[in-house]
Amino acid sequence: MTRAFPFSAIVGQEEMKQALLIACVEPRVGGVLIFGDRGTAKSTAVRALAGLLPHIETYENDPYNAPVGAQAVNGEAKTRGAPVMKPTPVVDLPLGVTEDRVVGALDIEKALRKGEKAYEPGLLARANRGFLYIDEVNLLEDHIVDLLLDVAATGENVVERDGLSVRHPAKFVLVGSGNPEEGELRPQLLDRFGLSVEVETPRDVDSRIQVVKRRDLYEREPDAFCDSWAEAEAALRMQISEAQTRVRELETGEDVLRKASEICLSLGADGLRGELTLLRAARARAALDGADAVTLEHLRAVAPAALRHRLRRDPLDEAGSGARIERGLAEAFAP
């Protein structure tokens, strides 16, 4: 299998990269939505994540990636094997997927052969403790998106169908990407994603050449290309894993809390979820920077991604929420 394009070799797209790194450090920000033109490295970036994430400790054959020491979900204790280190799962959810595949279903083989009602875990089980990626999320059938968001929010997959009754942990970071030309995402779904970024192709010729060159090199000699970026990737991996430890110890000062509330109020961002995401993202950003405390700069850096999709929006406002949020932030941070 060919290696994924290295994350650090992606030219530009800083906001998207930041959002994904934040989700690595603090999975509780609640998912990332990436919207933008074709050919802007959306899926490349997400697939590259797999190479950056630290390994997780689990059992060899545990279909739910249960942490070592945790109870087996459905009596797999006998079959789950010895504890091992596995790469953090980054599971691709293909568009044509059926509900059965996602949530898991009756194990047909066992049902036919032994007349036994057994549960066959689906993609949600595989994504537990990792990432679940949906390309073209706006084309996915609505009922599946609903289901995913529901599970992502509760962290648990409850199956009550075909005479089965199973529940298993499904804690994952949902990453969706899409192209607005092909249809928008329902507004109700938008704010279920923690962070939302908009990407576009780089405008200046030199960056564009840079992108074409790197991609071309990668396609011609993937191994050599990945090797030449191994050092940068290792550094980034280190940064993430340090930030994961650091993020729990960070202090958030009164001024930052106050400012976060102010921003949300002045922008009219709905609900408390926005404020919470904003703070969590700022903390993750600070941890990535190796800072000792969360500052207003960190808040400022993550505010667009955390709030962009939460503004009560007029779908016909040509300026889009990007401009409004910039204006709002400029006001909020004015001395």
Partner: protein, 582 residues
Amino acid sequence: MNAPEPVHRAWDRARLAAALLAVDPGLQGAVLQARAGPAREAWLEILRGLMNEDTTWKRVSYQISDETLYGGIDLAATLKTGRAVHRPGLLDALKGGVGVLAMAERAGPGLAARLSAALDGPGAPMLIALDEAADPDEAVPGGLSERLAFHIDLSEVSLADLEGDQGIGVDIDPESIAMAKVRLPHILSGEAERALVETAVALGIDSLRPPLLALRAARAAAALYELDEVTEAQAGLAARLVLAPRATRLPQPEQAEDAQAPDDQPDSAESDAQPEPQDERSGDDEMRAPDDMTELTLEAARTAIPEGLLAKIEAGAAGAESGGAGKAGAARKEGLRGRPAGARRGDLAGRRLDVMATLRAAAPWGKARRTGLSRFKPGPPLEVRQEDFRIKRFKPKAETVTIFVVDASGSLALNRLAEAKGAVETMLADSYVRRDQVALIAFRGTGSETLLPPTRSLTRAKRSLAALPGGGGTPLATAIDSAEALAHAAARQGRSVTLVFLTDGAANITREGAGSRETAQAEAREAAKRLRAAGHAAILVDVSKRGADTAKSLAEAMAARYVRLPAAQSGALAEIAREAAA
């Protein structure tokens, strides 16, 4: 062999494209614009002759179901063997092969996304999309066509063209392809990277996939022409074959060079804060003489920009890429989605099996069948037969398409047009919330134009509405005709249609485009009656200043609900549209 002359004939370029695909399958395929005919067959034959003999060729239908595409449980075999037997899907069979997607312009965004994912994945197939679009509204979905390197127009190729065999300057046969394949990994790109990227920018191509594909094509061409490095000729060829058909604007060479200067700040790559591999940066600064190559490449592309494109640009259309992709109904199959509505006995073709109901149906027979089978050999505890199959049934959610037919003629004073636009926008916003599809037809001058085929994309709807110019005559009959055609197409795909006309009903242009008020009125009335017979829900919004009798009688003729705009301010109008659709 030396660098050849530019290849002039369309057919020769098409043949070259086939050869390049055979040299580098990473070019992923082509969009072939042509009706079924000798040229298309000949081209496919050439490609077939150049590819490895054991390459799998499969036809892909635009109506293909997920079941066929991805495979699934082979139920008959599963029941027979008692273990889950997986039936491979078309995509599995296509690994490393060639898929021919017939009537690609009818493919919906769903299928396009699925195929795109296959093209991006390991073991990517080559895809030849046969585009038989009859009118400019139809096009191969953008996500798909963007990944296929060559966009070849064979519609102008004549039979006589197919005979000739000169004009390429290289032999195209399996041996030369095989040799080129060996050479390909060692071809240097030279200055082609910069030249092709700059050309793409000058042609208004936003995505970065096209220049990347052009670069590959240029290298494949260099390999075919037995060179070590890409020269101007190959870069030019690649620009013609890959970039020119995607152009969204005419190149302006002087500005193209200026434009890159102010943007030179290294804000992107450097901020990664890690060392750059040397082999990349070195090419950039000192060897900055490639402007010649850009110039030549751009020139080559310019000569190959299709004529129709110029017309589009002049008309202010959004560009080649935004067309099409609206005909999504194809992939929609009745009864596979929606709310579950119980199970029933039935045949499995493409449906979903309700396993529990099936087992339940089989269970009572267990003992009887076992004894019937054989007295001596114990059978399986449960035997499931064809007649036990139970199919899941779903109540499909009926989708609604709202077709707006907007009068942009001169009889509407300009400010009324603005109001009409405002009204459409309000209804658009409402459709958006309800996830309906919208389509937009405008009429003025001597004809009507489908600005937007049915879509859910509000972005596109807004854009085409904003770009709508006003003025000219009122070809009402033509407009009603095209609205009916669009409504008919949508209804055939199982959607309910609501038509919204915004006009003052003052027809004065006939179907032939002549300016006769009387004939035009009679024709409009007749068209309206035909529309009534079709039985779609319709609303006519009278946008004249004081309410016009013409509009009122037209509404009666088409059995449409008559609304006057002053009364129908924003919210009210949306309310009316919703009622009509219900």
